[in-house]
């Protein structure tokens, strides 16, 4: 561990993953090597029994092999054919194992690189007397207080209870720009393993050893905590059921064959090897072999988007989402409103108002305030003045007065909410001009925020602050609608403003003047109507709604409470990513459905290959069903078995990558996928088996 720590310190840039899951080549040689080894280990029947389809193949392979050995000992001839069958049956099992192992190995590779970043640092625990003691970070329990100074590694997950600091969180986010962490509010959470760059903070540890965020990330990507999702279980039941049906069909074929051989007075009853071959070809080995790989790869894809899903279930649920709650600010609109226009009331010139607006905003460090300064500079050519020269006293914004401003040269310049400024003007002995309300209303109706400016008792005019809808937002919302997802904008704005922005962004609905309680109620109401709801959130007061939502994507910059409540964390803290997560969820389900359909559709061709071959001697007339004109009985059976095995391997990349997903309506998706995977699955094996049959004939293998 010490060696590793040194490495971390000496060559940080190499070892810290830029993103959680680097876009690795699909068949990275080291991963393939690892997967090959694992696929052998997975032959253990105890573990394989969890996958009934592949387990059935293994039993079939074992039975065939035992019989082969028995016959070999007896010195029987003509064992080349059963030998080849047995070999390909084992390959079928190995290929299925390989698919799963590949998916797991990719996860493990990521876990390893994460693990390298985990250092066994020392922590300074604050004792009751105010003194501190040094102890290994791994000894920290939830509730402990620790101190961290610049240059130190945060020893565990926790909340800042005192101080403010810049923190390098690139270990988990891959983002090298430092972030600010401070006590109180929504930026109080720190993560173990991250590095304090400046200042000094006291942190209350919130997780016990082995349960930190990093630990959880590692175990999640490793698949150690992987539980089957409900949908995966249902699919497993389906394919296990089909396996049972095919088992019945094949087992009873033996007595049917006994009858038929006697009836025709020719041929012989198919050997066990051939019956097992038929069974393996029929049971849905393709989806059986790839099912868990698809699930693991789905989680993997979520992680490649720098989103940490706490369970596969959450990813699956995101595909099912009916209603998406999108926070207006930061998700639909750029985080900040911008001043776009100054509208003076009658009797005031624009320059006069611009002047006052600039002065009142000089000390205003909010983005809105800065945007006023920028507007004034760009539109009216007023250069920023040095504040210090002005003998000014700044009046900061307070929630009570709902205005801010500056007292300068006896002038009392104020800027703020329209009602607040109107009150201020009247208190100063002035009056509010009639046009003022009209102007404010007009701005509000246009989706803007009116910000009044006054000079003592004189009301100067209104600044139009506008929410800027993010570029491309309209199209994304339209895509969501095509996918059948209703988007609902959540905002603290008044209904008038909210309606305007909602229509500009094209969302289906909005919730104005929303309190956290409103959000929760809204989610419950939607769920009561049978809808699944997804939302993002970062604040502590979002936590109940995040917990209630079916998919709650918490921002990594948010509070621990929010992260605990949600079932996914976006390490980039980009709320728009919810849309991508939904797409990944859908892609995961589509991949499963597509491969299931493909797997079942494949069987048709296999019947046409094997049944005539099985009874070629008994009923030569059945050769009419041999529509592929396969070379011989043996080549036909072998070709089908080989095709069945190879298709698993051929589809591994598809399972890992997921099928192509374009957001569109369900009917269109279904039509396309049914055509590709249903009809395609029906037709593909015919040429496939035919080619393999030719090869076997040419190579004289059968």
């Amino acid at each position: 561990m010490t060696v590793m720590t040194q490495e971390t310190q000496t060559d940080e840039t190499v070892l810290i993953p830029k993103r959680l899951a680097k876009a690795r080549p699909l068949l990275d040689p080291s991963i393939v090597r690892r997967a090959l080894k694992d696929s052998l280990l997975k032959l253990n029947p105890v573990t394989l029994a969890k996958n009934p389809v592949i387990f059935a193949v293994e039993i079939g392979a074992a039975v065939t092999s035992v019989l082969l050995i028995r016959d070999a000992i007896r010195g029987e001839s003509g064992l080349g054919f059963p030998f080849q069958i047995a070999v390909w049956l084992w390959f079928t099992v190995l290929f299925a194992n390989f698919a799963e192992a590949m998916a797991e190995a990719r996860g493990k590779a990521q876990a390893d690189s994460l693990r390298k970043t985990r250092t066994d640092s020392m922590a300074r625990r604050v004792l009751s007397g105010g003194t501190t003691e040094l102890l290994p970070a791994s000894k920290l329990r939830a509730g402990d207080l620790v101190e961290c100074q610049a240059g130190e590694i945060v020893p565990g997950d926790g909340d800042v209870v005192e101080g403010i600091a810049t923190v390098d969180e690139s270990v988990i986010t891959g983002e090298s720009a430092p972030v600010i962490r401070e006590s109180g509010g929504d930026r109080s959470a720190v993560t173990g393993g991250t590095k304090v760059l400046s200042d000094h903070i006291t942190v209350r540890i919130t997780s016990n050893p082995g349960e930190t965020f990093l630990d959880r990330m590692i175990s999640l990507v490793e698949g150690a905590e992987r539980q089957k999702t409900p949908n995966e279980i249902a699919l497993n039941i389906l394919i296990s059921g089909l396996t049972l049906i095919f088992l019945l069909a094949v087992v009873t074929l033996q007595p049917f064959a006994v009858y038929s051989v006697a009836a025709a007075g020719a041929g012989h009853v198919p050997t066990v090897a051939v019956l097992v071959a038929l069974l393996v070809c029929l049971i849905p080995t393709t989806i059986g072999g790839l099912l868990s790989a698809i699930g693991i790869a789905g989680m993997d894809r979520v992680m490649q988007h720098n989103v940490l899903a706490m369970s596969g279930r959450a990813v699956e649920a995101s595909g099912d989402v009916n209603t998406l709650l999108l926070d207006k600010t930061g998700t639909i609109t750029l985080g900040n409103r911008q001043a776009v226009e100054l509208i003076p009331v009658e009797g005031v010139t624009e320059i006069e108002m611009a002047n006052a607006a600039q002065l009142s905003s000089l000390a205003d460090e909010t983005p809105e305030g800065r945007s006023v300064v920028v507007l004034v500079k760009e539109k009216y050519g007023l250069r920023s003045r040095e504040i210090a020269e002005q003998h000014a006293r700044f009046v900061p914004f307070s929630a009570y007065t709902r205005m801010s401003g500056v007292d300068i040269d006896g002038r009392r310049l104020r800027k703020g909410a329209t009602e607040a400024i109107a009150n201020f003007v009247q208190q100063e002995g002035g009056s509010v001009p009639a046009s003022f309300l009209d102007i404010s209303d007009r701005i509000a109706r246009a989706g803007g925020t009116p910000l009044a400016v006054a000079d003592g008792g004189r009301l100067l005019g209104v600044i139009h602050l506008k929410d800027i809808v993010k570029g491309g937002m309209r199209q994304r919302i339209a895509q969501l609608r095509a996918m059948g997802i209703r988007s609902v904008m959540i905002t603290g704005d008044n209904p008038l403003t909210a309606a305007a922005i909602a229509s500009e962004a094209g969302v289906d609905d909005f919730l104005a003047q929303a309190t956290p309680k409103d959000k929760l109620e809204f989610i419950k109401r939607e769920q009561g109507e049978g809808r699944l709801v997804a939302m993002t959130g970062d604040g502590t007061n979002d936590a109940p709604a995040l917990a209630q939502a079916d998919v709650g994507l918490a921002m990594n910059t948010g509070t621990t409470a929010a992260k605990e409540a949600g079932n996914m964390v976006d390490l980039d803290s980009n709320p728009t990513k919810l849309i991508e997560v939904v797409a990944i969820g859908k892609q995961l389900l589509i991949t499963r459905g597509a491969l299931t359909t493909f797997s079942i559709a494949n069987d048709v061709a296999k019947y046409f290959a094997i049944i005539p071959a099985m009874f070629a001697a008994t009923y030569p007339a059945l050769d009419r069903l041999n529509i592929m004109r396969l070379h011989s009985s043996e080549s036909a059976v072998l070709a089908a078995v080989i095709f069945n095995a190879l298709i698993i391997i051929a589809l591994v990349p598809l399972a890992l990558r997921g099928v192509k997903y374009q957001p569109r309506d369900a009917a269109g998706l279904l039509r396309r996928n049914l055509l590709v995977y249903g009809v395609g699955g029906l037709l593909a094996p015919f040429p496939g088996i035919w080619v393999l049959d030719r090869l076997l004939a040419i190579l004289k293998l059968a």
Binding site: T597, A666, L670
Partner: protein, 597 residues
């Protein structure tokens, strides 16, 4: 095929399509407890039945109670029928003095199970086995109640989709009573009168002794046939009063009665598709099922009809006319009646096996291989093409669940059907139902193909089970396969050359029927209970659309693929290979030797 034949098929389909909505709407009213035009007369009777039966009309049942009631009712039905059969010698209305000698315990078991499960497989000949009383007060009663029980289960299943967050799926006793009273009795009464006017007999006379025109002797059985014939068709039961079933001139004397009888078979099953759509609040959902069923129906007809019309090439070589003319039907007339010809026979065969009716107006065993494959495969598909009363709808809903689950994932959502999420429980129950019936067919047929009983022994006096076959070679195998498919599918029609009146067949087929009935219904009721408890997810453009052509196509594909994958190997060794061999002129005779060694 003749233009008359094709026209008959299309006319028949048009009549069914036209009746679907009115019948379906009526059924929805009845089962929702709404007032119908029959209420003034029948409502007091309904109330009386509840009072006498100790049924509380407003009590709602969970799926377990619903299933429990059904099973209890079937058990009691079994006891009643069994007692009637065995004690017929002591009971009245028995002019031919049939007694227990005609009805061995195993036959009585098989027959009781057969009628209570709506199968109506008959290992006996009605005219030489049962008294009038047993036919009407034991067997025909089951025709009513087993048909009504089937509809009750279908309605319970529909409620599973229609209800939200509900614990109950209705009341079995109420559904049963309403079905018998408002649906089956009036339709049977009407049907019986029309049938009788056309020549179907209805009396309690002793068998008529006849000195024929040439001076020979003939004994013509009599009996209350019309009353039983009507419910046999309306209830998709199919158990004939006579051995020849609807081929018998006293059961089906004219082409008009024939047309009426097949209309009666599809009447309720087709109507139920509309009932379904209406009860779930979207008639298009019902029409989508109707469309899938219609296509499968027409496909079946246009496999069987051309095959039968083409006839047997081996006979054609003997100078038999196979092409139809206006003066003779051509085709394969072995086992068919002249008044029905090829088209009405093939149509009847397809209808009776699309539905789980099993009545026959021609002998399927004598069909050409492809002509016989159509009814056999229809049964193996689960009789979901309109299907039995109720059984067709709930069977098709099972396939809808599977289709939606398999392909529905491809729209990127947890599959939903009628707004209900299809999850573990539903898939598990659907698979259980599917596996049970498939296992029952394949395992029993597999055993029978090789099992060897001692000759003259109890279980199968002829010896090996295949000694009971009426034909050899692939056709004999088809007989065996058909028998167990018919039992598990609760159909009742047969490749009747097989002698199944031995303890082995009576018992194994009896169990096959029980499995096919109860291991199908109970899982589906469980699924219904689970569905009823769920919320209904509102449909959006992201929801799998289950009312259009795409879904209809998918549903058809699922039904065919599941059926074909399960039974293709068996079918290849039966009708399929026989078809090829028939064209090669191969014949199969002689006892099989060594098959069971």
């Amino acid at each position: 095929m003749t233009s008359y034949g094709v026209f008959q098929v299309l006319l028949y389909f048009a009549v069914i399509a036209a009746l679907t909505k009115p019948v379906g709407a009526f059924l929805a009213k009845v089962y929702d407890g709404e007032r119908t035009f029959l209420h003034p007369v029948l409502r007091p009777v309904e109330r009386l039945i509840y009072r006498l039966g100790g049924v509380r009309e407003n009590e709602n049942q969970r799926w377990t109670q619903y299933a429990g009631s059904l099973v209890a009712f079937s058990l009691v039905s079994f006891l009643f029928v069994y007692a009637f059969e065995r004690l017929q010698g002591l009971l009245p209305l028995n002019p031919q003095h049939f007694g227990a000698g005609q009805v061995s315990p195993d036959l009585a078991f098989d027959t009781a199970v057969s009628f209570l499960s709506n199968t109506n497989w008959q290992s006996y000949s009605g005219e030489s086995t049962f008294s009038y009383l047993v036919q009407m007060a034991a067997l025909a009663v089951q025709n009513f109640v087993s048909g009504a029980a089937g509809v009750a289960v279908a309605i319970a299943m529909v409620r599973g989709f229609a209800r939200q967050q509900a614990h109950s799926i209705g009341n079995f006793w109420v559904d049963l009573t309403r079905g018998v009273l408002y649906v089956f009795l009036p339709l049977s009464l009407l049907g019986a009168l029309v049938l009788c006017s056309q020549g179907v007999i209805q009396n309690f006379h002793a068998y008529e002794k006849v000195k024929t025109i040439e001076g020979g002797r003939q004994v013509i059985p009599q009996g209350p046939v019309a009353s039983q014939e009507a419910i046999k068709m309306v209830g998709t039961n199919g158990g004939g009063f006579f051995n020849a079933n609807s081929a018998h001139p006293y059961e089906n004397p004219t082409p008009v009665t024939n047309f009426l009888e097949i209309v009666m078979i599809f009447l309720i099953p087709a109507g139920l598709t509309y009932t379904f759509g209406r009860m779930v609040g979207d008639p298009r959902q019902g029409w989508a099922l109707f469309a899938a069923m219609s296509i499968l129906f027409l496909a079946g007809v246009f496999v069987a009809y051309p095959a039968e019309q083409a006839g047997n090439p081996i006979l054609a070589k003997l100078g038999i006319e196979t092409a139809p003319t206006n003066l003779q039907p051509g085709g394969n007339m072995e086992g068919k009646e002249v008044r029905f010809g090829i088209a009405s026979s093939a149509l009847f065969a397809v209808v009776t096996t699309d539905a789980s009716c099993g009545a026959v107006n021609s002998m399927h065993d004598s069909y050409t291989p492809l002509g016989g494959l159509a009814p056999l495969f229809n049964i193996q598909l689960g009789e979901v093409v309109f299907g039995g009363t109720g059984a067709g709808l709930y069977g098709m809903l099972l396939f809808a669940i599977l289709a939606v689950f398999i392909a529905g994932l491809m729209v990127g959502r947890t599959p939903e059907y009628i707004g209900k999420k299809i999850e573990q429980k539903e898939v598990k129950m659907a698979m259980l139902a599917l596996i049970s019936t498939a296992a029952s067919v394949l395992v029993f047929a597999g055993i029978s193909a090789v099992v060897h009983f001692s000759q003259g022994g109890y279980f199968n006096p002829p010896g090996p089970a295949i000694a009971n076959l009426g034909n050899r070679g692939p056709h004999g195998f088809s007989e065996l396969l058909y028998a167990y498919s018919s039992a598990a599918g609760n159909n009742g029609s047969a490749f009747a050359g097989i002698n199944t009146n031995t303890p082995w067949f009576n018992l194994s087929m009896g169990f096959g029927m029980l499995i096919g009935r109860f291991l199908f219904i109970i899982p589906l009721l469980a699924a219904a209970g689970s569905l009823a408890a769920k919320k209904r997810v509102p449909a959006t453009s992201g929801t799998f659309p289950t009312h259009g052509g795409l879904f209809t196509g998918l549903l058809i594909g699922t039904v065919i693929i599941v059926g074909a994958l399960t039974f293709f190997p068996a079918l290849a060794l039966g009708p399929i290979v026989e078809h090829f061999l028939m064209h090669e002129g191969r014949l199969f005779s002689g006892l099989l030797t060594g098959a069971w060694s």
